[in-house]
């Protein structure tokens, strides 16, 4: 049943391509229905699947001579991210309701991307996972290059190349692991159990991890993220920040860390600048990402760049959570993936759709005098709520997630906790600064009434915003909903290799 999330999205994409040119409205509705159906399937599966353990969805031989199978399976982590994908897909379509230019193609690429993302989260066979992982790149490129804004072709190409270079690194590692393990199977479980020699893991782990982490915005490989986000149309930014960055983090956890736990855990035997293992290195990079992303967001002039860099900062929490290697940190990382997906989606929706599509500027200095909190109060309120959630104010999903990650960090890298604290504080500052500059006129500055008057916020936008805020609050107040399936998934045998390390 769960496999239909993939099929239905691809099918929707195909049908949209075949629709007659004029029927923009039906294209939207069809896309929305497809996304809703996908979400409904994911939600049903989530509701039925209470244990969080790995359950096979589909399993059929695919390329028998290479031992490659068409094997889809889901555990609590996948389910969490599937839900996220469903929600982001729906709200992304709601926020793209105003797309008129080549709408069929737009929604077709959109659904193709969604289907591939579902595919990555469901794949158990790593070949299959890689296939879906790469499919994601192409629609992403075209969504940005065709429907984007500022320097769209540059941003799109940069994003595509970064993704492709990342996946090339992953591919090298995967092929090497596959061959090393006897070239008999690409199933995650089989490879995870194969005892790769230590020296092999020592180079394969960083290779594959960085390959995935590029997409997760690991500093210093994050530079695609702000330009890509800024160039992308609203729905694509939402998808990029909402789910595509999660693909990277998911890959890090699901592939790099399960396959090569020794590469992660084993000390090098020497210390370089106080770093003794890959774990230290990536934890440090993640923290730098948190602080650096926040600092850079603090000085941006373009509203969307603020959010773009905030994504880098927040994804740093995910990667840092992964590096803590304790249950609370890892569950926090997964929760943060979900939370950041929702919130980044919401922020991009406000900036890209509610503000930019109306005012046609994202320059904070130009937006300020418009006093948008009077002109489009709904956008202001949404941004304030989203910003509060994003800065980790309690009661929203971001708080619980960052809380859990930070607890994990206290245990694993106490020194870094202080840096994390700084990152959070700067996070508050840049959100607050952006909010003030974008929505509230400075006292003493002559406020300008935009002409013609800005169109009011439409119903689909309201619906999308409410959906995302509601989800964030729900998870913020009752995170156990997701933790119930995440924690057992992390305790499954798949992570045995990691657990031997410092898992507590």
């Amino acid at each position: 049943m769960l496999a239909w999330t993939i099929y239905i999205s691809f099918l929707g994409a195909l049908v949209l391509l075949l629709l007659p040119k004029a029927s923009v409205a039906s294209a939207r509705i069809l896309a929305l229905l497809t996304a809703v159906a996908g979400f409904a399937i994911a939600l049903t599966a989530f509701a039925q699947h209470r244990t969080g353990e790995m359950l096979t969805v589909v399993r059929a031989p695919w390329i028998p001579s290479l031992g490659i199978e068409y094997h889809l399976a889901a555990d609590g982590i996948s389910l969490t991210l599937l839900l996220l994908t469903g929600i982001i897909a729906i709200s992304g379509i709601l926020f793209s309701w105003n797309i008129e230019h080549r709408a069929q193609e737009f929604f077709s690429f959109y659904l193709l991307l969604i289907g591939a993302v579902y595919g990555v989260f469901l794949s158990y066979d790593l070949f299959l996972l890689f296939v879906f992982y790469e499919i994601v790149i192409i629609p992403k490129y075209f969504l940005i290059a065709i429907w984007g804004s500022t320097r769209r072709e540059y941003g799109a190409m940069k994003l595509a190349l970064y993704s492709f270079i990342g996946s090339a690194m992953v591919l090298i590692g995967l092929i090497a692991a596959y061959v090393r393990a006897g070239a008999k199977s690409m199933a995650l479980g089989d490879l995870a159990q194969y005892p790769f020699p230590l020296h092999f893991q020592m180079w394969a782990f960083p290779l594959v991890f960085v390959g995935f982490a590029i997409l997760a915005g690991l500093w210093p490989f994050h530079t695609w993220a702000p330009t890509g986000h800024v160039a992308a149309p609203t729905a694509a930014s939402m998808l990029l920040a909402g789910v595509v960055m999660k693909l990277g983090a998911y890959g890090c956890l699901r592939v790099a860390m399960t396959l090569f736990p020794l590469g992660l855990l084993t000390p090098w035997g020497l210390h370089v600048l106080g770093l003794g293992s890959w774990r230290d290195v990536f934890a440090l990079l993640a923290v730098i990402g948190i602080v650096y992303g926040a600092m850079v967001a603090l000085v941006q002039k373009d509203f969307k760049f603020v959010i773009g860099y905030s994504s880098v900062s927040h994804m740093g929490f995910v990667l840092l959570g992964l590096m803590t290697l304790n249950q609370i940190g890892l569950s926090g990382a997964v929760l943060q993936m979900f939370s950041h997906g929702i919130l980044a989606g919401l922020l991009f929706a406000v900036v890209g759709r509610m503000v930019y599509d109306r005012t046609h500027t994202r320059d904070l200095a130009t937006l300020g005098p418009m006093n948008l909190n009077k002109a489009i109060p709904f956008a202001a309120v949404t941004f304030v709520v989203a910003g509060m959630a994003s800065m980790g104010l309690p009661g929203f999903s971001g708080f619980v997630a960052e809380l859990m990650v930070t607890i994990g960090v206290w245990r694993a890298f106490p020194v870094l906790t202080v840096c994390v604290g700084i990152g959070i504080v700067v996070g508050v500052a840049y959100i607050w600064r952006a909010m003030q500059k974008a929505f509230f006129a400075e006292a003493g500055v002559e406020s300008v009434t935009p002409k013609p008057p800005l169109p009011p916020i439409t119903f689909p936008e309201r619906l999308g915003a409410v959906l995302l805020i509601g989800t964030s609050v729900l998870i913020g107040l009752y995170p156990q909903l997701l933790l119930n399936v995440i924690v057992p998934a992390l305790n499954s045998p798949l992570f045995d290799g990691l657990r031997k390390g410092s898992w507590q």
């Binding site: 609370i328 569950s331 304030v384 509060m388 104010l393 309690p394 009661g395 708080f399 619980v400 809380l403 859990m404 930070t406 607890i407 206290w410 245990r411 106490p414 020194v415 906790t417 202080v418 994390v420 604290g421 959070i424 504080v425 508050v428 500052a429 607050w432 003030q436 509230f440 400075e442 006292a443 003493g444 009752y478 995170p479 156990q480 933790l483 924690v487």
Partner: protein
């Protein structure tokens, strides 16, 4: 325990009010005001009911509710009140309607304004009833948001920097506090204040922290102090304690006066409450270790803020510094109590006195400061926004009732015997003097300076020759008099019969002091 969840209901009332108000359109200003006031009175009635049903004889936690929430994080929905919590609930319920009445003349986005006020009240209730760090922190942090916007959207000309400064300071403090608590959670797997206090009392807490945090580069003493410093910073900013106070005058001055009432009357108590509920029970030993610097901080706060108030020209800024000063006494009392722990039976009476004084002072300051700012609001309404010390003069002649009632409040703030301010300060000084003589003695300078600036206000605003501008200044209307009457009456009542409060909180205080063992 399936008793009726009174406390949850109490917190829900203002939330419901806030949501209802959001549905009111901009034009129905009066509807919004009346609705808001109705909800705040409903909350007051509920609080009075709790006050009535509270069993003062035991003094322990009552009206408890405890439900599993996030088992993975050891988070429970655990709320309850003892005398301290109850007192704070009552104070909030009194201050919020005062703030609302003082904001009656707000004209812009009225529903939103009152909605935020109610939301702030909900956060206050939540903070004062929560017994689990998790949701306590939720309310603690969320309270910033309405406060920020109240300053930001309705404040004076320099509101933006003031609001931002307020937010950033408190946020930094909060995050330090959060990190400290995460460290504790890591060691204990527990977020429950009661449980943590018990652990600390038995001497298990800090050894656990030291054992579980593999922070090799620091000695255990330093480690515990660092954790303590994080938590301390969070509360010290909120109270505020010098040198973390610089956000306060700007925020109080720029906020609309109705909001300032809330800030000083209720929100500043969150900090003291945090000291009493969290810092003292959990970090008592660490506080004792660094007691001397802490006392110095308290003394500096008291003295400096009093002198700073002397130097101000703006009534709101004067009262802002006076707030710092008054809350400084509370901290002095708390630090004094922490100095001796365990078996010093001889000093028990002093400790009870000081602690009772702290609680009383919290309530009194809330009441008095709120009333004083209320007067400022009424003065501003009459003067068209002017509130400088030198803008007036001789108001006694045109507005005698105004002068009289405000004089009472000023004397209450000064600590004149017979009025409420006296009892609290007296108890604090009485209790603290034997415990920390030098600090208490130094603090007396603050008292003197306070007397000077308060008398200065009386002289320059109300007496002397009448400033010609204000010959037509109207006196208090009947409605205003009626509204003020309960507050003034309460000042007298508490001044003459402090047992009204002490009777309820005394047993709680005894327990708190007795449980200070480390």
């Amino acid at each position: 325990m399936t008793a009726f969840p009174w406390l949850t209901v109490l917190t829900t009332v203002p939330v419901a009010g806030a949501i209802v108000l959001l549905g009111v359109t901009e034009r129905n200003k009066n509807l919004a005001r009346v609705l808001a006031l109705a909800f705040s009175f409903l909350a007051l009635v509920l609080t009075l009911f709790l006050w009535h049903s509270f069993n003062a004889a035991t003094g322990g936690m009552q009206f408890q509710e405890r439900h599993a929430w996030i088992p993975t994080l050891g988070v429970e929905y655990h709320i309850g009140i003892d005398g301290l919590g109850l007192l704070m609930l009552l104070l909030s319920s009194i201050v919020v309607p005062i703030g609302m009445i003082a904001s009656w003349q707000i004209q812009e986005r009225v529903p939103l304004y009152f909605s935020l006020v109610l939301f702030l009240q909900a956060c206050l209730f939540g903070t004062f009833t929560a017994l689990n760090f998790f949701h306590w922190f939720i309310f603690w942090e969320l309270s910033l948001v309405p406060a920020f916007f109240l300053i930001k959207l309705w404040g004076g000309p320099r509101r933006t920097p003031a609001a931002t400064q307020f937010l950033v300071y408190t946020m930094v403090g909060s995050i330090a506090l959060l990190l400290a608590f995460l460290a504790i959670f890591l060691a204990t797997g527990n977020f429950d204040f009661i449980d943590l206090a018990a652990l600390a009392r038995n001497g298990h807490l800090m050894p656990d922290v030291i054992a579980k945090l593999n922070w090799h580069r620091f000695t255990p003493e330093h480690l515990t102090l660092i954790v303590f410093a994080g938590a301390f910073l969070g509360f010290a900013v909120k109270v505020p304690l010098a040198p973390f106070h610089t956000w306060l005058p700007a925020a109080y001055a720029e906020a609309p006066t109705g909001t300032t009432i809330l800030l000083t009357g209720a929100m500043s108590k969150m900090g003291i409450y945090g000291f009493l509920r969290i810092l003292v029970p959990i970090f008592g030993a660490e506080m004792q270790t660094v007691l001397t610097p802490l006392l110095w901080l308290a003394v500096v706060t008291i003295v400096l803020s009093a002198y700073a108030a002397l130097a101000q020209k703006d009534l709101k800024r004067i009262f802002a510094y006076s707030s710092i000063n008054h809350l400084g006494y509370c901290l002095l009392g708390i630090f004094a109590v922490v100095k001796f722990t365990g078996g010093d039976v001889a000093l028990t009476a002093e400790k009870f006195a000081a602690m009772n004084g702290v609680l009383l002072q919290m309530f009194n300051h809330g009441l008095t400061a709120a009333t004083l700012f209320w007067f400022v609001a009424m003065l501003e309404k009459r003067s068209g926004g002017l509130r400088g010390l030198d803008d007036f003069g001789g108001l006694r002649k045109v507005a005698p009732v105004f002068t009289g009632l405000m004089g009472i409040s000023l004397f209450s703030s000064l600590g004149l015997p017979g009025l409420n301010g006296f009892v609290g300060e007296f108890l604090i000084f009485k209790g603290s003097f034997p415990l920390v003589t030098w600090a208490t003695a130094l603090s007396v300078i603050g008292l003197l300076a306070t007397a000077i600036f308060i008398l200065g206000i009386l002289q320059r605003v109300f007496s002397g020759p009448l400033n010609e501008t204000w010959t037509a200044l109207p006196d208090l209307s009947t409605g205003e008099r009626l509204a003020l009457a309960p507050a003034i009456a309460l000042m007298f009542a508490l001044g003459l019969w402090p047992q009204l409060v002490l009777g309820v909180v005394n047993n709680t205080v005894i327990q708190m002091v007795q449980q200070l063992r480390f």
